[in-house]
Amino acid sequence: MVCPYSFDVPGGVQNHVLGLARYLRQSGHRPYVLAPGELGPSAAALDLEDFASAGASMPVPYNGSVARVNFGPLSAARVRRWLRSGKFDLVHIHEPITPSISLLALWAAEQPVVATFHTATPRSRSMQLASGVLRAAIEKIDAGIAVSESARNVVVQHLGRDAVVIPNGIRFHDFAGWSPMRDESPPPQQPRLIFIGRLDEPRKGLDVLLAALPLIKQARPDLQVIVAGQGSRPLPPGCRNLGTVTEQAKIALLGSADVLVAPQLARESFGLVLLEAMASGVPIVASDLPPFVDLLGDRQDDRRLGEVFTVGDHRALALAVVRVLDQPDPMRAARAQHAARNYDWSQVGTTVLAIYRAALSAAPARRASRGAG
């Protein structure tokens, strides 16, 4: 497996790669992972001998966030050497069209290639400029996977390829099994609102939430607000910032929350935070981005697994939060939790394996199975 982002920092793609690697090993396969940087504490699940580093990565602005990636002839040589080490029957490349080791791996791969597209919005201008180069690389993909319908639309429209939609996986029981221990501080009657996501990135929509806070506080003056995520920014009084949290701390935070707000403005392709909240049984208030609405199921409001509001509308957000806090709906939370069970790696991973098998049968016959890179 090739992951373009470093495991030094937590992130959606990294978590996906780690979760899938763990599932593959449990089901008797041997995944090897290539990624920039070193193994951080969040990647403890990964065996050191199965991990190869593509070298130090550099922070570059890409697709509206700062991505730590690497490129250049040295990285290209490393990637090629890794691929030629002869251990792999199949290469699974994540985010294959970012300027990173993923694209380099796609160029150099001689094995059958499965590629997973995680983002919903590539930059069309740079894509057009580089279309000749990209086109040739994209042709090498034997089987494409997209994490959501929105991500698939990009693949079909901009890249002219097809992709099977396989959602992100989670370790369902980690989230569902966490028993809330909220008898200490704060007292249970003090409702707790949480936001998880980068604080310094406008598209994550924290500004919308902050604009809505005064309105919410009018109805619920005792509201406790906790934000968790990378980056720093001034917060109004009454908000606690936990900074970057570990997976364990995130699970605990979700377990203690009364409502999760996902005010993201754009460029979300899946909404892993939403899924994790669903698995934890936390009520959700989310903006109506297509992938969020898809995750929350039914288009009809009354059957939906969480509240949604118009993107960027802080008044609607405030109303939805107050509604959720005033009229808790345990049945809905239970339905959401039940729905999240389908996204456990035991389910999602089997589908990925089916794609692997299909890609292997579609690609030229090679030697007997040894492992997936």
Binding site: A136, E139, R161, A354, A358, A359, A362, A363, P364
Partner: protein, 176 residues
């Protein structure tokens, strides 16, 4: 400009042209080869589906009228030497029949779920590979220089998969 310089420039241009054409031919070759492999994978998956359907109706609890219906659809789909249009129609018919009898069948391991899912997945991969090959074949360089040679133009396999989408089926396979 001396003759030597012009010659040098010409050589460089020709080298670049030859390199680009070789590169394109390589891509075309790879894409064409992939369509052959995806086709044989799809063929195997479709045959597996039809055979399994025919096996399934021998199970106790299936009435003879239903059995006859399924056997007939499977037999037509399994007929050798069908042209592609006929085969597409036969496989679509089989999908419809399987949709109708699906509620009567036990869920995996003896149900048809995995076979249908696999066929549908293989078909998507095949049509995706065909689209890539066709895109390359229609480039003007490929057409003018006849880089595709005499290989037959690949065609997508158009059939109806039936009501069960690949993902849910494979998910269901996982549950059992």
């Amino acid at each position: 400009m001396s003759i030597l310089e012009i010659a040098a420039i010409l050589i460089i241009i020709v080298t670049i042209l030859v390199w680009r054409i070789t590169w394109l031919a390589g891509r075309l070759h790879r894409a064409t080869r992939r369509t052959e492999h995806t086709w044989s994978a799809l063929d195997t998956a479709l045959v597996g589906r039809a055979r399994h359907a025919a096996e399934l109706v021998k199970m106790p609890g299936i009435d003879p009228a239903t059995a006859l219906l399924v056997l007939d659809a499977a037999a037509v789909a399994l007929e050798p030497d069908l042209c592609q249009v006929d085969r597409e129609r036969a496989e679509s018919d089989l999908s419809h029949v399987l949709d109708m009898i699906d509620p009567m069948l036990p869920i995996s391991p003896n149900g048809l779920g995995p076979e249908r899912g696999r066929a549908s997945l293989c078909r998507r991969l095949h049509n995706d590979a065909v689209a890539t090959a066709l895109f390359l074949r229609r480039r003007s360089t490929v057409r003018i220089l006849r880089l595709a040679g005499r290989t037959a133009e690949p065609r997508p396999f158009e059939m109806e998969d039936g009501s069960i989408c690949a993902l849910t089926v494979i998910m269901r396979e996982a549950e059992n």
